[in-house]
Symmetry: C2
DNA sequence: CGGGCATCGTTTGCATACGAACAGTTCAGG
DNA sequence: CCTGAACTGTTCGTATGCAAACGATGCCCG
């Protein structure tokens, strides 16, 4: 071993690497339970249903998405018929968003699954550890 | 509030959303301290320096990257002159990788920064919380 | 009231990521 | 020995993500 050359540094101990691995596993679990909707798309749809009609950029901020990113997400949700877009008559810069009937139905269907996805992702931990982990993770946002 | 319609579900409490936010913050910190190298590129370079010469797919597995993903990462590292590639004479399917002089130098320079990136990312937590968080996070991979 | 400034959405370019399909290579078992 | 399974790297398509630049619009303040 040439560990002496590495100052005790290990890639496997760096937060970034661990975050990436955890995200990968979560993504796999998500895809297994919710098909036809990506985590990002679901996040946008969920937040839109929670918030009610909003502008595109505002929804992006609420879901921590770049203006460029939220645009693509909304485009795809609209293509799927889950979100309706119409220009704001008052502020003509704005593009107002609202979930369609199908969008609300998809949200209602996916919501319990989303909770199970969180549960499955955290399954390796005990309930007490899960709560502690979520609390710590929330402070790193 | 129409929380009654949401079964106590909150997007902001789901692991996937929190993981995404934490990853975003980490990425920003990384980009601020290490320029000219992405987290993924650094991970591949670091693991290659730790492991010594390896094949492309093997490095991908060691760094939790798809075969399609590691290809692009290695291509860019080679374009930067940090990694050398040559075909394996024994197994002609394999593409052997090794860090160049510049690659090792870049790794040596970036390694202390990487540790500081981890420290900065975890800064909102106390040292005890940091250790606990990392231990829990590692079990979710 | 008018000009500078901020905000909105859009586009482009780059870099992960993953699934699926592909051709070339190796190897184990019959 | 030879065939089929497994593995290697590649390519394509799709979806995030961010930075930067852009035109259009709204608004504050002098």
């Amino acid at each position: 071993m040439d560990d002496a050359q590495h100052d005790g540094y290990r890639l496997d101990e760096q937060v970034g690497f661990l975050l990436r691995r955890a995200t990968q596993r979560h993504l796999a679990i998500f895809a297994g339970l919710i098909g036809g909707l990506t985590p990002t798309q679901f996040a946008a749809l969920a937040k839109l249903c929670e918030m009610g009609p909003t502008s595109q950029n505002a929804l992006g901020r609420a879901t921590a998405m770049d203006a460029a990113t939220i645009k693509g997400v909304i485009d795809r949700l609209r293509d799927k018929g889950l979100v309706a877009t119409l220009p704001d008559p008052i502020d003509r810069r704005r593009l107002m968003l609202a979930p369609t009937e199908a969008g609300r139905a998809a949200y209602d269907t996916a919501r319990p699954l989303a909770q199970r996805i969180t549960a499955d992702t955290l399954a390796p931990l005990t309930p007490a550890e899960q709560a502690a982990f979520l609390a710590l993770l929330a402070r790193l946002g």
